[in-house]
């Protein structure tokens, strides 16, 4: 079974803090993704990566950055957390060679609260 794990299920941070969300997958997938889920807005893509050290902006990259130093690990960084970044963050991966043609496998999510 594909397993995607996220470092924390719940996280509370203060405004202005730098926040790191970690995601690890164990299926040697090329592609990894970060989404946020908000009520009434569905899942919105923040960033994705199709190879080590490669990244592309999604639909809402502002205020975020990412890092992919190893194939199995994809980190989302909030440079200076703000209250409007309070959300559920979901990591996903898949093994398609050219983008997400195949199903994506999701981690359990990290509920981030910024106070």
């Amino acid at each position: 079974d594909v397993k995607v794990t996220q470092s924390s299920r719940y996280l509370v941070k203060r405004t202005g803090e730098k926040v790191f969300l970690e995601c690890v997958q164990d299926m040697d997938h090329e592609n990894m993704f970060w989404y946020r889920q908000d009520p009434g807005l569905g899942l919105r893509l923040i960033y994705f990566s199709y190879d080590v050290k490669m990244k592309e902006k999604g639909d809402i990259p502002e205020g975020y950055s990412v890092s992919r130093e190893k194939k199995e690990r994809f980190s989302l960084i909030l440079e200076s957390a703000s209250t409007n970044q309070t959300s559920m963050y979901l990591c996903a991966s898949n093994g398609a060679s050219w983008g997400p043609r195949d199903e994506q496998y999701f981690g359990p999510g990290t509920r981030l609260t910024v106070t």
Binding site: G42, L45, P100
Partner: protein, 116 residues
């Protein structure tokens, strides 16, 4: 601009009856569609998909129908079970453009409640 729309935020059906979840899209370049199910405090899990070369795909109790002319797809669950109660997201992607541009665009989700 919401390219994938699920206009019903919630749906309630009786156990054993059919559940029909709807999804509309605006981008005619979308050629692959997926449905995901999400329970609270869990990540979404893949349910079923359909390519634009088909108009129907079936997997057990789940069937997805695609009407390209109407830019509409629907997920039918027959018979519905209480364990099907979850949020359902439809998603779409396009193979045009190639490479790493094949993002999944998700709808806003529909909360399905199956009453025993």
């Amino acid at each position: 601009d919401q390219q994938v729309k699920q206009n019903s935020p919630s749906l309630s059906v009786q156990e054993g009856r059919i559940s029909i979840l709807n999804c509309d899209y605006t981008n005619s370049m979308f050629d692959y569609f997926l449905w995901y199910k999400k329970y609270p405090a869990e990540g979404p899990t893949f349910l079923i998909s359909i390519s634009s070369i088909k108009d129907k795909n079936e997997d057990g109790r789940f069937t997805v129908f695609l009407n390209k002319s109407a830019k509409h797809l629907s997920l039918h669950i027959v018979p519905s079970q209480p364990g099907d109660s979850a949020v359902y997201f439809c998603a779409a992607s396009s193979s045009f453009g190639g490479g790493a541009t094949n993002k999944l665009i998700f709808g806003t989700g529909t909360l399905l409640a199956v009453q025993p």
